[in-house]
């Protein structure tokens, strides 16, 4: 890639025009002054010029805005941080064969939605045979033993089950994010495992549509999966992580 491609700007209809759309509400009454306030905010966000193309009152105390304009920021592609998949995508039979060789027993996976979260569709998509996006879920893999605890599992309950099942990996899901519930719950979970088992804790994997895969460290887990994850990705990751744990080359 040429140097020119290191830096990019948003594209409206011409390379480099920087055009973006934004909408927001300010807690101030509708009127020219409100439009001016919206413009100030847009400018602070780096939009220049910015156009308040729409505003309307919401009740007496709020105003909603739509603003278009050009942001001056450059995106530096070299500085983009992403979690690249650090392992190969394996087919179910590759997963099974490798696990059999490495472990000589089934790999035990315990999963559930923790805290008060009852959104099981996501974790079920990963765990249940039915699967997701045309891929079968982990239950389908001969060399995996899957224990799906379902919804609203408390952290102590999760730790207890993981112990009882001798879990190699614990997979938790968090969908509700209001007031950072997903972050707090996951941190509580990883702390509990650290406390209960120290270094012998199972592999901890968190998933949910609003997680950022870069957050693993902050959450105290080994890996984070976000929206659109498929079961195959998770199975392949588990193989990779088990190999790494046992010091086996991939």
């Amino acid at each position: 890639m040429s140097d020119a491609k290191r830096y990019v700007r948003p594209y409206g209809d011409t390379t480099g025009d920087g055009m973006i759309q934004t909408s927001f509400t300010l807690p101030i009454p509708f009127g020219p002054k409100a439009d001016g306030a919206a413009l100030q905010l847009a400018n602070k966000m780096g939009m220049d010029p910015a156009m308040v193309v729409h505003s309307n009152p919401i009740g007496d105390d709020f105003t909603f805005f739509v603003v278009y304009g050009s942001v001056k920021h450059l995106v530096d592609l070299d500085e983009v941080k992403v979690v690249e998949r650090e392992y190969p995508l394996l087919s179910p039979s590759e997963v099974n064969n490798t696990l059999k060789k490495v472990l000589r027993r089934k790999l035990v996976v315990v999963g559930g939605c923790i805290g008060t979260d009852a959104h099981t569709v996501g974790i079920d998509a990963i765990l249940n045979i039915k699967g997701f996006a045309g891929e079968k879920g982990l239950e389908y893999y001969r060399e995996l033993k899957v224990v799906n605890l379902g919804a609203q599992v408390s952290v102590p309950e999760l730790v207890r089950s993981a112990r009882a099942e001798k879990a190699d990996a614990v997979l938790i899901s968090q969908v509700v994010t209001q007031r950072d519930a997903h972050i707090l719950n996951t941190q509580e979970m990883s702390a509990a495992f650290r406390e209960a088992m120290g270094d012998r804790r199972p592999l901890l994997v968190a998933g949910g549509p609003r997680f950022d895969p870069l957050m693993a460290g902050e959450l105290g887990v080994d890996r984070v999966f976000s929206r659109g994850t498929t079961p195959g990705e998770v199975a392949s990751y588990l193989v990779h992580a088990m190999q790494a744990k046992r010091g086996v080359a991939a």
Binding site: S23, F24, T25, N56, I58, G59, F62, F64, G115, T116, D117, A118, T120, V121, G150, A151, Q152, V176, T177, Q178, R179, A181, P209
Partner: protein, 523 residues
């Protein structure tokens, strides 16, 4: 005008099958009580407040009393006999004083007999009657206010959710929503609440993705909506959730605070909160009797099935559940005009003809339940972070609502897949509704499904599948059907689930003045 040409014999057969499927469960419900039913009864009898000195946080006094009664003499006779006996024995002024004394370890509960029994029956009956009178007064008051301020000018009624977690922010948002056109405000509950085996107390400010349902929050919001109703010149209704482990109690609190609608499904707690099936069926029956007395419209939860199962494959399970919900509701004394049976616009928008299939399903519900105020739920599952796409889909949902004559329209939010609604989402969503109602509100006049067309065929097919499924349920038993994952793909065995230990078989001498008065008021 019927557009689907449904066979009245098939419809009647479906209803009969639903009644037969429900029968054993109704018997079970009559034979049991639960901690929640007993707590609800004491609440009707006037207990309020919480033990704030308890180390586990505020514990409602009613829980302290019930738990102690159960420990000391069981609940199979009901809570009122030991409680009102103790009240007289210790010469206490109120149930709340009784609770304080209970917490202090000063009370030894027992089942009274002879004259004591008669006295306890009488005292409890008159206490509960007072509670029910408040419920009745609220019903009359609602009717008065509706007469004074008026009902919404149009059908469907516009139903909006607020969900900030903080009752004070909820008030701001609810009042603004009403000003912008909402006819019904629902305050969504905090995620954890349905599994709490008590009702929190007071005004609350820290829910997760919803605000706790408390008596005080109910009061605050109803008062705020009364203010804004006056302002906008129409009675704005308030909705909350009588689901979860405290279904009967919350139903009572709703009656006491003049709520107008309540989410109340015969199976939702079982399927989506993993609550014990028997517990749920007992609780729902009592709660529905209370709703009937209070003139509260219930909203059932069939929409939820389509978030876990596929909306095309499982369309007939919605119909079956509606028929069951209808039967359970009638049995508990709710008339048709209080049956907000639920259904939803949840077909994958990528399915060819998805909109026409939605029309088929929606019209089927409409023609099966012509007198019920059907509650039409927006797309959620196939909403994505593409808020533009979502805004459009919500528009077509609104259109389907007006084309098929839905009664209560839960307004969809473009941020469905992103966050609980922003203030502006609600405002935009209302603009969407207003456009559709104003521009195409009477388009139903020109909507005539072709007699051999996709819509008519599909509706007949779904009804046929529903009848087949009901036959299987009659054969296997409803509890087994639930255990097998018939609804929403959730498998829930009758002996599992949360709150099972709160179920108590009634003794022959079981006494509950609330139940007696409520059964009597059934028609």
């Amino acid at each position: 005008m019927a557009l689907l040409d449904l066979d009245p014999l098939v419809v009647a057969a479906a209803r009969k099958l639903a009644a037969r499927a429900a029968e054993p469960v109704v018997s079970l419900a009559k034979a049991h009580t639960t901690v929640a039913v007993e707590r609800a009864t004491l609440r009707l009898a006037g207990i309020t407040g919480a033990d704030s000195t308890h180390r586990a946080g505020d514990v409602p006094w009613v829980n302290r009393v019930i738990d102690t009664v159960r420990e000391q003499c069981g609940l199979e006779h009901g809570v009122v006999l030991p409680a009102f006996h103790a009240l007289r024995e210790h010469d206490l002024g109120s149930l709340t004083e009784l609770a304080e004394a209970t917490a202090a370890g000063q009370i030894q509960f027992k089942i009274p007999t002879g004259k004591d029994l008669t006295a306890a029956r009488k005292a409890s009956t008159s206490a509960v009657a007072k509670g029910l009178k408040t419920v009745d007064r609220n019903k009359t008051q609602r009717e008065k206010l509706v007469a004074k301020w008026g009902d919404p000018a149009q059908r469907p009624w516009i139903y909006l959710i607020v969900a900030t977690g903080d009752i004070d922010e909820d008030v701001v948002q609810a009042q603004n929503a009403a000003r912008a056109g909402a006819d019904v405000i629902a305050v969504i509950r905090s995620t954890g609440q349905s599994l709490l085996d008590y009702v929190p107390e007071g005004a609350t400010h820290h829910g997760f993705a919803g605000t706790y349902a408390t008596q005080e929050n109910f009061r605050i919001m109803r008062a705020a909506l009364d203010d804004v109703s006056k302002e906008v010149g129409r009675y704005v209704r308030l909705t909350n959730y009588a689901s979860g482990l405290c279904m009967p109690e919350i139903a009572v609190l709703a009656g006491l605070q003049r709520l107008d609608m309540m989410l109340n499904d015969s199976m939702y707690g079982i399927l989506f909160r993993d609550i014990n099936p028997i517990r749920t069926f007992v609780d729902q029956r009592f709660s529905r009797q209370v709703h009937a007395r209070a003139g509260i419209i219930i909203n059932t939860g069939e929409d939820n099935y389509l978030t876990t199962a596929d909306a095309v494959d499982a369309a007939h399970t919605v119909t079956v559940s509606q028929l069951l919900n209808e039967h359970f509701a009638h049995e508990a004394g709710l008339p048709d005009h209080l049956l907000g049976l639920g259904h939803a616009f949840e077909i994958n928008p990528k399915v060819p003809d998805s909109f026409r299939l939605e029309l088929a399903h929606a019209l089927l519900a409409r023609e099966l339940f012509p007198d019920a105020p059907l509650k039409w739920m927006p797309p959620t599952k196939h909403m994505t972070g593409d808020v533009f796409d979502g805004y459009l889909l919500d528009g077509f949902f609104n259109l389907a609502g007006v084309l098929t004559g839905q009664s209560i329209l839960l307004v969809g939010m473009m941020t469905e897949a992103v966050v609980t609604p922003f203030l502006s989402d609600r405002d935009l969503a209302l603009k969407n509704v207003r456009y559709v109602l104003n521009a195409a509100g009477s388009l139903a006049e020109d909507f005539r499904p072709s007699p051999d067309g996709l819509i008519v065929k599909r509706a007949h097919q779904v009804l046929g599948e529903a009848v087949d499924l009901l036959e299987r349920i009659v054969d296997d038993g409803l509890l087994n059907a639930i255990a097998d994952g018939t609804f929403g793909l959730m498998k829930r065995p009758a002996d599992k689930g949360k709150g099972a230990d709160g179920v108590v078989e009634k003794a022959p001498e079981y006494f509950n003045p609330a139940s007696e008065m409520l059964e009597a008021s059934d028609v």
